[in-house]
Amino acid sequence: MIPAQFDYVRPGDVAEAVRVLAESEEPKVMAGGQSLTPLLRFRLAYPDVVVDLGGLTELRGVADEGEWLRIGAMTTHDEVIHDPLVAAHCPLLAQATHTVADPAVRHRGTLGGSLAHADPAGDLPAVALALDAEFLVSGEDGDRAVPASEFFQDYLTTVLDIGDVLTAVRFPKLTGWSFHYKKFSQTAQAWAIVGVAAAVRRDDGSVAEARVGLTNMGSTPIRARQVEEACRGVPARTDALREAAQSADAGTDPPNDLSAQADYRRHLARVLTGRALAAAAGL
């Protein structure tokens, strides 16, 4: 690749990363580089400095925090997929992560990198949104926690400022819930045309609660709140969940692109949401 010239810094700790970022005019954080590298290669990004978080081992790994799982931002996709705590308490994240790109990308790409990149066609933002994850951020003014519902602002845009580093993401342990991520793409190793992250809590023969996050149905990941409402108390049957999923595209603004026009995406969102809910409900 032949990018434009930039400086490269590999900080030794988060504080240094924050300081370097804050002092730069147009910095870019590299957290695995699987999205940033193409942007540099296409000369779509002209950072003056690339701050590589690859040396920050304290940002790697999964910790059990009681009600929450705390996953370091620099934990690779492959590590997430194979982590026993994730498998036990947040299997939806592992399942969705397994659909990200190909093995080479999953060995370098990171959870934090994916989420901070905030590509609405990426698989993990919708999962974080559906699970009400919490984003831990270190910045010039100290640390703060941002709920998923506030983190994603627009296309490739989050609440992170220059000088902010996403250090970890906390996922609530949802006991009694079951999950499914349904990804629909044209080739196996591609971005989702539409993706659906579904979580269901059953109460015997009916659905007590459901949560649905949508991938690539707007400029940010979207919660399908109407579907969640419609699911409440319905019988745990495929036809009922498919019916509840009919409002999956309500409030979305899906893109028109080469792989799909908006009307097709709306249709897919309805069909796939029904299927994802049914699969999550064990049907």
Binding site: I2, A4, Q5, R41, F42, D102, F184, Q186, T187, A188, Q189, A190, W191, I193, L258, S259, A260, Q261, Y264, H267, L268, V271, L272
Partner: protein, 799 residues
């Protein structure tokens, strides 16, 4: 158990591991972009952002001030020496052949056309300095689709050059055999279909790259090319630099699929820049540059009519073709659809056939050879329409094929398009494929799913294809106005120690010639496989050759190797007879040793003969001190691989997703030298044919921008998108070459596209779907189902 052969015999037919692979997979390779030269400069091109525009000014002065920049040039700076990129196949005498300057001078005609260049001390400086080049354009109207291009009062692609003669029509090429009118008038059924062969991007794994070094008054040029010999000849003819002063090397080359069967602007300009600057220069394309400016494939509109009796007998076929040339004629651009002209009748007997092709200029990247080159397009059309004919008649599509194909006892058979198929056994390949595929079982499942209204429908697609390969008899190429012959050359050299050097004029770029040629030579000369070295891809090392494309290398080049081996043995026999004090006629040669027939006298090995020839102490009268020989083989006929491919797909009618459930390919490629290599060729070929059916399309917007200019947008499938293929072979040796080989490089691609699309249409037939545009993306399939359902409703629910 059988013992591994100690001698070289029985190598042909053995799945030897490839000699190439240990080096390739451990990175011990020499790709063109890896080549470093002292003082080497790097070239970057500024490319047109317009599909069609007049160049009003080029200012290189600011770029010249950039750090590291050595030179910057516009097309005008090379106007006197760059010539016009060659087209070797003027298919008609009156074909429009507009000038094609390597770097545009006055006008650009596709997005990506080179307009100016920067030469710098490193690739980064060159890329940075491009942004300082100041080029002004006056946009002209883009001409994107072929039918609009042919309409009256359409802007002309080549008006500015004064060569357009008032039309975007480049040529018309007609052909008719038999009484077409009466075949159609007398037929019970006439079916007409329009098929679109979408434009494809070859996307070889290794990007194009070229390095050129001045050596005194001569030049060495490395290029990621399939055709070093053609490049050398054409560079000489284009630039006027004498042919003997140009050496072209194709080092390790990572795939081509026809896209490196080309003489490119960048090769010409690398040569001219090296001459002007007296320094080695390098250029390597980025992937997006490659997508925009490495020639594309396909892009035809086919209007096809078939006439048949109600019992399914085919009477005639009419094909009216629009072929998109793009903006210029490149090496064989116009010849690609003409090659297809001979393949539309496929394996079927009929009374009459007509073909008419109109070549059309548009403001897009030129098209040219892409795996199959004309033959996949033709095979698609005939295999699709034959299936539709069966449906129209209410006959099983396999039964309709059986009623019309050339039967095994009819070979050799001269078909309606004039080709003489030397050999084939369509019955055997089909019977085997039907058995492996479980055709009857899948048809039964299909019926069940249709009856139960399963949202996931099953479809079965059939392709009983043949192709013409082994390009090509020089005499035929001459009749088709091609600018060169189709022979191939080989040399076999016995070294004093008995080792063997084989020089081939073919130029492998992934095909494994080093391995296959070693197997052939090991058997011919009775020497160990390991003792054979195969040299290729360098016009100084392998001075004569016609290179690699069109499934020709084994059929033509392999035959030349066999002939050269025969000549080596003729020389060796004479010397051996002298050494053994025997009559030549009494010598037998097997397993690498000469023996005197009917005696117990000690044998003499070929290695001993080679050493004696080298020493030359005691040669027979008039013999030379060498066992070396070369041979040039020019085939009398094409070769005709064939086979039966069966595909089963599941189509999710709610989402439009197509899943390949199973794929059976039974190919008859004649004698197989290395089964693993042949399997690999079939696998890759299937992947590319399936890619056209389901995944790939080069899309230009109405302004002429290539929208699919990255790997993210141009969806090349990977192994993860493909099923496990069920492969088998029947073997009906070709009668037209001593190996009996037919070629396999393109078979999978040619066969698979209609099988897959046929399966998708078959799955959706209950909904009233009769055709699908390629690629059959989920969205297209979903819309087709939705539209068919809508049409069904508006017909009052008659379906």
């Amino acid at each position: 158990m059988t013992m591994a052969p100690e001698s070289g015999t029985d190598q042909v037919g053995s799945p030897r591991l490839r000699k190439e692979d240990a080096r390739l997979i451990t990175g011990q390779t020499e790709w063109t972009d890896n080549i470093q030269q002292t003082g080497m400069l790097h070239v970057a091109f500024l490319r047109s952002p317009h599909a069609h525009a007049r160049i009003t000014s080029v200012d290189t002065s600011a770029a010249m001030q950039q750090p590291g920049v050595v030179a910057a040039y516009s097309g005008a700076d090379f106007a006197d020496e760059q010539g016009s990129l060659p087209c070797a196949w003027p298919v008609t005498e009156d074909m429009l052949l507009p000038a094609h300057p390597p770097m545009a001078v006055d006008e650009v005609r596709y997005v990506g056309e080179a307009v100016a260049c920067v030469v710098a001390r490193d690739a980064y400086s060159a890329a940075d300095a491009l942004e300082a080049l100041d080029v002004e354009f006056e946009p002209l109207p883009a001409v994107i689709d072929m039918e609009s291009a042919l309409a009256e009062d359409t802007p002309l692609v080549h008006e500015g050059s004064g060569q357009g003669q008032g039309s975007n029509k480049a040529f018309e090429w007609p052909m008719a055999v038999g009484d077409v009118d009466s075949a159609f008038e007398g037929a019970d059924i006439v079916l007409t279909r329009r098929y679109h062969q979408q434009r494809l991007i070859p996307a070889a794994m290794e990007p194009r790259s070229v390095v050129c070094r001045p050596d005194g008054d001569a030049f060495t040029l490395w290029s990621a090319t399939q055709v070093p010999h053609i490049v050398r000849l054409m560079l000489a003819m284009t630039t006027g630099i004498p042919e003997h002063k140009i050496r072209v090397i194709a080092p390790d080359v990572g795939g081509g699929f026809g896209s490196k069967l080309q003489v490119t602007a960048e090769e010409v300009l690398a040569l001219l820049l090296a001459r002007r600057l007296r320094k080695p220069v390098k250029w390597t394309e980025t992937r997006t540059e490659g997508f925009q400016t490495t020639h594309h494939g396909r892009d035809q509109i086919q209007d096809v009519s078939i006439a048949a009796d109600s019992d399914g007998r085919i009477r005639g076929l009419k094909v009216d073709l629009l072929a998109d040339m793009g903006a210029y004629m490149m090496l064989v651009t116009p010849g690609v659809p003409i090659l297809g002209a001979f393949m539309f009748p496929g394996i079927y007997k009929m009374d009459a056939y007509s073909f008419h092709c109109t070549g059309v200029f548009t403001t897009k990247m030129p098209t040219d050879a892409y795996r199959g080159a004309g033959r996949p397009e033709a095979t698609y059309a005939i295999e699709r329409i034959v299936t539709e004919l069966a449906d129209e008649i209410g006959m099983d599509p396999m039964e309709l094929r059986r009623r019309n194909w050339i039967t095994h006892d009819e070979f050799p058979y001269t078909g309606i398009a004039g080709l003489t198929y030397d050999s084939g056994n369509y019955e055997a390949a089909t019977d085997r494929a039907v058995e492996l595929f479980d055709y009857d079982g899948l048809r039964a499942e299909q019926r069940r799913r249709r009856e139960s209204g399963d949202p996931v429908q099953l479809g079965i697609g059939i392709s009983t294809y043949t192709e013409m390969c082994g390009l090509a008899p020089s005499r035929v190429l001459g009749q088709l106005s091609y600018g060169a012959g189709g022979w191939e050359n080989a040399a076999v050299r016995m070294l004093p120690t008995g080792k063997v050097e084989v020089v081939t004029g073919t130029s492998p770029h992934g095909q494994g010639h080093v391995t296959s040629w070693s197997q052939i030579v090991a058997d011919q000369l009775g020497v160990p496989f390991e003792d054979v070295e195969v040299l290729h891809g360098d016009t100084r090392v392998a001075p004569k050759g016609m290179d690699t494309y069109g499934s020709r290398s084994l059929v033509v080049g392999g035959t030349a190797v066999v002939q050269a081996c025969d000549r080596v043995l003729d020389k060796a026999r004479r010397l051996a007879a002298h050494m053994m004090e025997a009559n030549e006629d009494d010598l037998e040669f097997s397993d690498g040793r000469f023996t005197v027939r009917g005696t117990e006298r000690p044998s003499t090995s070929l290695q001993e003969v080679a050493l004696a020839a080298f020493a030359a102490h005691d040669l027979p009268e008039g013999a030379e001190a060498s066992l070396d020989a070369d041979a040039t083989f020019d085939p009398e006929n094409f070769s005709y691989p064939h086979g039966t491919h069966l595909c089963a797909v599941e189509v999710d009618t709610e989402t439009g997703q197509v899943s390949l459930r199973s794929y059976t390919a039974v190919d008859d490629v004649g004698t197989v030298i290395n089964p693993s290599i042949v399997d690999g060729q079939v696998h890759g070929g299937l992947a590319q044919g399936i890619a056209q059916a389901l995944f790939e399309e080069a899309v230009y917007d109405t302004d002429g921008n290539l929208v699919t200019s990255t790997m993210a947008d141009y969806t090349v499938p990977t192994a993860a998108d493909l099923p496990d293929f069920t492969l088998d072979r029947t073997t009906t040796p070709a009668t037209t070459n001593p190996l009996g080989a037919k070629g396999v490089g393109e078979a999978g691609t040619i066969a698979s596209t209609p099988a897959v699309v046929g399966a998708v249409v078959d799955a959706l037939r209950p909904f009233g779907v009769r055709d699908m545009r390629m690629p059959c993306t989920p969205q297209r399939v979903w819309r087709a189902v939705a539209e068919a359902r809508e049409a069904g409703r508006s017909e009052g629910g008659q379906r």
